[in-house]
Amino acid sequence: MEIVRPQSRRNFLSSSNDAVSVPTIPLYRSAPSLEVRLEEFESFAIDRLRVLKGISDGMSRGKKPEEMENLVKDLWKVNMRHQHASDVLNKDIISHFVLRLVYCRTEDLRKWFLSMESALFRHRFRVLNAEAQRAVMEEFDLPYRAVSNVEFESIKEKLGQVARSMGQPVPTADAIFYKVPFEEVPELVAGRKVLISQGYAYVAMNQIVSLVATLFRSQLSKTLILTNRKWTSSIREQEKHRLTPIVEALCSSYLGPDYSQSREYADISLKDIDQVAKNSFPLCMRHLFDKLKEDHHLKHGGRMQLGLFLKGVGLNLEDALAFWRAEFSKKVGLEKFEKQYAYSIRHNYGKEGKRTDYTPYSCSKIISSTPGTGDHHGCPYRHFSEENLRAALDRMGVNSRAMEDVIDKARNRHYQLACTLTFEALHGVPCDAGINHPNQYFSDSKKILQSKQKDSST
């Protein structure tokens, strides 16, 4: 890929590839030799990043396959269009290769990029028509042939068994199956979704996406390693003044859109909840959160206190269900969770029973509660022993000087003042209004962290 070199502008792809009009998916085998303007270099990449980020969010919310399909379709339509139809494909390819540079540089970045690009590819492949799918398969140069009629007859019964075990109709004689080494289709093997015999999996035409996506993934995985090698050995140095700053800025800004939203506090998504809990939850919520992660269970009082707080923080119902389900199912099982606990979560969100939209608990309500044995809710400054409070504050990162002040306030029953002091110690900023509500603690904390972020980036 050439980047603004003084050459005659020539569009490699549209001139040599007639398939532009057919909606197809490039396999990004090699970087195209075409010119890219620096602004496009960056803006295309950001557009693609928005798509990948959207996929990532969708996945962490546990969306179902068909929901994901629509999500990907929308994301693609919104972000990846181009005013010239002929440049749509170029934009696709350029943005991919730019992000490859951005995300090749550490193991974590590679992992994230790999799984998002694979998911994107999978969903794009799925919506192609049969002809286009076959074209992609041809481009992959798959060495597999369709199973012959004779062979089909010999295994027909077993293929039927597999289909029926998945609740699908029994394949007819004209159904196409590919005979593929089983290790090429791990996800079909894992789900017992294919017949496996003598080392070969019999993959039905409608399962071929799994094969193709696996191939795509493994090829991309290899090239990412190679790109990284190239990046560290030459590109980074060569492009020190031009591309390197862009590339390095791009990966840190993939969380960008979340912070740029000018709400009082941004919606939190499941993916960052751990980080957010660590940075911005008050001690009472932090404690419940940690206990939940540790025990995969909370008693009713704890569920109410934490659940309503999370709702106030911006966790929507769908995410809330996913969040509690993820923890509780480890302990009580999925079935019991759905029966016993899901109802009360929907209830909290006003979707069940008398449909009141409950509000999060305030400090005074929490302080006046009376937690019993096995309970973890309540106000730590009031309900913890001094020893436990010290340990908890220490875990939060309160330094020893501030700790004495906090303990002193707690001892004198100024619980909210103790919490305020903790807030100040952790954020390094005075909190004149004092803490009256856990959600106020949270939003103040977010504001401070955001402004700090801005300061450091400008």
């Binding site: 068994q161 029926r164 998945m166 290790e183 017992r192 015999s197 302990k331 009580v332 099982g333």
Partner: protein, 561 residues
């Protein structure tokens, strides 16, 4: 029955060992030293501070322990019986330096791990040949030897490669392994629990071997599958085909998931859930060929699965339709009086159960599946998934001695796994006794043949090692020829000498060299170390081994008596 036997055996041993152990009038110190000297395995030697404590430890623990497991015996075992050469030949996979196409560094990149007494772990040991392994094992006398993966570089030098951002130290090859442990079956066996096994519950392992072995061969097309008794309560499986060794973690996970039916959870009654209009062919075949028969003819009566209320309630709880469950409950509660003595009560009840669930009026899908679900819950193999999913998991080497039972981890022939009896597997003390007895009448046969481990090693060689090495040789040769062909085809091969092509001036000369190599190989055997080659050993173990000097171990052995 056999459990009774086992208990009796233990008891009689205990009585023999401590004839007056219940009389307090023997001097405490005398008894203590008696125990310490002869019977306490090494971990308990240090507990000599209090008489009371020592006795209580001895009472609880010793029956679980091999009475004569001690380091001197283990040393003797490593010195005289342990098949180092076979082990190394196996994990070298033909990379033994004889063929120009073989990978000289292969064995040296394999991780071995030793567990010494007092739980000292030595990880990332590596060896370049049999002798190095043998010397190290003899020197350290590990109570356990584990085999890990083949790494990209010598694991002993991993720190040297660990510098820089891109850590090149990573596992590159590993057998596909399975670990099946009886403790995972505790909710479906009533004869023993935890670490104990007996002949009543062992069939669960037999089932596991049959189901997994068949699928590995028929479904996945693997040929070189080694089954090993884990020494106490389970079995290990090593799939050694080249393709299996090179599987990625994801692919390993996929195979493990393919086998997974049992989804255990403490708080749900139903642990196996079979949905869909049909069973996947693998499950269907396992059910009709193995599970059903073992359930009905073996476990049902062996474990008395329906004999008492508590037990049949567990099964009735798995029926989704409460009315059917209560109908059966009613019948079974009454039948206690009227049941004929002739037929086994479990069988009678199971027939009633099947009849009711599979009869016309309850043909609803969920209920018909219910019979299968119950059979699966009580018989289907339960794998330790994590062991199979990751390349870098360690697994105990075959022929180790289990430190708690003293039993040798012998291979199991999957074709005759129903005949395998864990209670007759040779123990360390038995082997030493045989060695000593035979040694004293100076038999001319080799040690291996004279002791009961001989059969195990013969089985290892004939059913596993020989076919494996034959396949490995073919693979090495083929890939070597392919490389030669490629270097011949590419014009640049002369200018960029690779290891293979630089060695030989032309393909024809290379072929000549290969032939030379193979021709000379047969004569090599005779010159090799006598304990050496498997062909030699399996044909006639004897002559070479007879040369081994017995005087070296006899005094030592006497000393430990």
């Amino acid at each position: 029955m056999s459990k009774m036997k086992a208990v009796l055996k233990r008891k009689s041993w205990f009585m023999r060992s401590f004839p007056q152990s219940l009389n307090v009038d023997i001097p405490a110190t005398a008894l203590l030293s008696h125990i310490n000297r002869r019977f306490l395995p090494f971990p308990f030697r240090k507990f000599n501070s209090s008489f009371h404590f020592t006795i209580s430890v001895a009472k609880q623990m010793i029956p679980q322990q091999e009475p004569d497991f001690n380091l001197n015996h283990l040393k003797l075992y490593y010195g005289k019986l342990f098949p180092f050469a076979d082990l190394v030949r196996w994990v070298s996979y033909g990379n033994d330096g004889k063929h120009p196409g073989c990978d000289q560094s292969y064995l040296g990149r394999r991780e071995f791990s030793f567990t010494l007494e007092n739980d000292i772990y030595l990880r990332f040991q590596s060896f370049n040949n049999t002798l190095e392994l043998e010397n190290s094992v003899k020197e350290k006398s590990p109570v356990k030897i584990d085999i890990g993966p083949v790494y990209s570089v010598d694991p002993a030098k991993r720190y040297a490669y660990a510098q820089g951002e891109n850590n090149v130290f990573a596992p590159v090859e590993r057998e596909l392994i399975f670990d099946i442990d009886m403790t995972d079956y505790d909710d479906v066996r009533y004869c023993c629990s935890g670490a104990d096994v007996c002949l009543v519950c062992w069939p669960l392992m037999t089932i596991a071997i049959k189901v997994i072995d068949t699928a590995l061969r028929d479904d996945f097309g693997f040929k070189h599958v080694l089954w090993v008794y884990s020494g106490r309560r389970g079995v290990h499986c090593w799939v050694c085909d080249g393709k299996a060794r090179r599987l990625s973690n994801e692919q390993r996970g996929a195979i493990a998931d393919y086998f997974r039916v049992y989804k255990g959870n403490e708080n749900s009654h139903k642990k196996v859930s079979l949905t869909g209009a049909a069973l996947h062919p693998f499950l269907a075949t396992s059910y009709t060929n193995v599970l059903k028969d073992y359930f009905e003819k073996n476990l049902l009566t062996g474990q008395n699965l329906l004999a008492t209320e508590e037990r049949y309630e567990k099964i009735l709880n798995m029926i989704p339709d409460e009315s059917i469950a209560s109908e059966l409950r009613g019948r079974w509660q009454d039948s206690r009086r009227s049941s004929s003595a002739k037929e086994d009560i479990n069988v009678v009840r199971w027939e009633q159960f099947k009849q009711l669930l599979q009869s016309g009026k309850h043909k609803a899908q969920g209920l018909r599946r219910c019979v299968e679900e119950i059979v699966f819950s009580f018989t289907y193999p339960r794998l330790d998934m994590e062991v199979s999913k990751h390349m870098n998991h360690l697994l105990k080497a075959p022929f180790c001695v289990h430190p708690k039972t003293g039993r040798v981890c012998v291979p199991i022939d999957p074709n005759r796994c129903d005949e395998f009896d864990p209670t007759t597997v040779p123990t360390l003390s038995q082997l030493i006794e045989e060695l000593n007895y035979e040694g004293s009448i100076s038999d001319i046969d080799g040690e291996l043949n004279r002791t009961s481990i001989g059969n195990a090693i013969t089985l290892f060689r004939s059913s596993f090692l020989q076919p494996l090495l034959k396949a490995c040789k073919e693979e090495i040769e083929n890939s070597y020829n392919l490389k030669l062909q490629q270097s011949k085809n590419s014009l640049g091969w002369l200018s960029s000498p690779k290891r293979g092509s630089a060695l030989v001036p032309s393909p024809r000369a290379a072929w000549f060299e290969i032939q030379q190599n193979f021709l000379s190989e047969s004569s090599d055997h005779a010159d090799e170390s006598p304990e050496g080659h498997f062909i030699l050993m399996s044909d006639s173990c004897s002559a070479a081994n007879a040369k081994v000097d017995k005087s070296a171990f006899l005094p030592e052995f006497d000393a430990c008596l």
